[in-house]
């Protein structure tokens, strides 16, 4: 039951992009086509879950026992950066086809604040490891959902007769605003 609440709240109610404003850069950057949006979602899911597990272990088995929680930010970001590198190297060796699909998105992920954000949130919300993993997966799905819907909308607005001054980024942001309004309808359901 608790897992279901975590999942619904992370995907719909407190959507990571539209409500928490994490991962807005890739949300605006790679949402011009549905295909790239799907690729980015895959890469984010993969890294987010891995990063959450590793940072959780670091927090509970290194930082807390040695009472050096103030090194949290610095150690988490280093772990995420090296994790992204590692994933890239391993993918290249193990599964070249997957690497081809996700490869271009991987370097972008280090500076995706959604990854570090979720890692820190899992610690702040005092989840256990299992809840943390569920939370990470749910947030990745929420990110993917928002990104893919938004990419679909943008493919359409590109073909419309948008007022000249609003072309490009402004209309995309306003579309995102209306999408966020739609997601607000879910608030209060958990």
């Amino acid at each position: 039951m608790e897992y279901i609440i975590i999942i619904i709240s992370a995907i719909l109610v407190n959507n990571i992009v539209l409500n928490q404003f994490l991962g807005v850069c890739p949300f605006l950057g790679v949402s011009k086509k549905i295909e790239t949006a799907v690729g980015m979602t895959g890469a984010v899911t993969f890294v987010m879950v891995l990063a959450t597990i590793v940072t959780f272990l670091i927090q509970h088995y290194i930082l807390i026992p040695f009472e050096i929680q103030y090194l949290q930010t610095i150690s988490f970001i280093l772990v995420i950066a090296s994790l992204v590198q590692l994933v890239e190297i391993i993918l290249k060796k193990v599964s070249p086809s997957l690497h081809q699909a996700l490869g271009v998105f991987l370097p972008l992920i280090t500076t995706n604040c959604a990854i570090l954000g979720v890692a820190i949130l899992v610690i702040q919300k005092e989840f256990n490891l299992m809840e943390g993993v569920v939370y990470a997966i749910a947030n990745a799905i929420g990110f993917g959902l928002a990104l893919i819907i938004f990419a679909g909308l943008r493919e359409h607005t590109d073909l419309q007769d948008v007022p000249k001054g609003l072309k490009g980024v402004p209309i995309a942001l306003i579309t995102a605003g209306i999408l966020a309004m739609a997601f607000m309808g879910f608030s209060g359901i958990v």
């Binding site: 539209l18 409500n19 928490q20 404003f21 994490l22 991962g23 807005v24 850069c25 949300f27 605006l28 103030y70 090194l71 949290q72 930010t73 610095i74 970001i77 280093l78 950066a81 090296s82 280090t110 500076t111 995706n112 604040c113 990854i115 570090l116 954000g117 820190i120 949130l121 702040q124 001054g165 609003l166 980024v169 402004p170 209309i171 995309a172 942001l173 306003i174 995102a176 605003g177 209306i178 966020a180 309004m181 607000m184």
Partner: protein, 196 residues
């Protein structure tokens, strides 16, 4: 004169938010009120100036292949310092910015300036560049925060302009952030076109 240009480019012409579209997460996430936007902007400015300073000092001591991790460590250090100092002396701002303070680390503007500017230029111009871009960022966040606070609750910096009951609450909530930023960028695009 050249340094002056270096400093002012961050405000309109190369404004990191309005023109380069970087650092979107804190831009949208912390601008519910003007004061939060300003606080976030100044915290980021501090990190930018200090990391630019240190990176330009140590640029020759860091081999090329490990420069990004080294820069990240430098940035994360200053971010953590800001976090601790803010927690001690500005607790209410610390609480309202919350998660977005540690997330300054992954603000593309900071790493971007360290990599693109400070690692290639001398200390003086790096510091000026950091201050210019940082204040440009703070300027953008303050504008967006003021617009959202004014439309949402009839106040700017907590000074009432018109009665709160007439405010459009949506501008303080998440959707209003996107919409307000969309229109501001449209206006800035227009201004930049006129100048060019």
């Amino acid at each position: 004169m050249n340094q002056w240009k270096n400093f002012t480019k961050g405000f309109i012409k190369e404004n990191p938010v309005f023109v380069l579209l970087l650092g979107m997460c804190p831009t949208l996430g912390t601008t519910g009120t003007a004061i939060n936007g300003l606080g976030m902007g100044l915290a980021t400015t501090f990190v930018l100036v200090m990391s630019n300073l240190v990176v330009s000092l140590i640029k020759n001591l860091i081999p090329d292949k490990v420069r990004i991790p080294a820069f990240i460590v430098v940035i994360a250090t200053f971010v953590t310092i800001v976090e601790m100092v803010m927690q001690a002396y500005l607790p209410s701002l610390y609480e309202s910015l919350g998660l977005f303070i540690p997330l300054i680390v992954v603000n593309c503007i900071v790493l971007g300036r360290a990599e693109a500017f400070a690692s290639k230029n001398n200390v003086k111009s790096s510091v000026i560049d950091g201050a210019g871009i940082g204040l440009g960022f703070a300027f953008a966040l303050t504008i967006l925060g003021s617009v959202r606070e004014l439309l949402g609750s009839g106040k700017v910096f907590d000074i009432t302009i018109y009665p709160e009951n007439y405010g459009m609450l949506i501008f303080i909530l998440a959707p209003g952030a996107f919409i307000a930023l969309g229109y501001i960028i449209a206006v800035i695009n227009r201004l930049n076109k006129k100048n060019a």
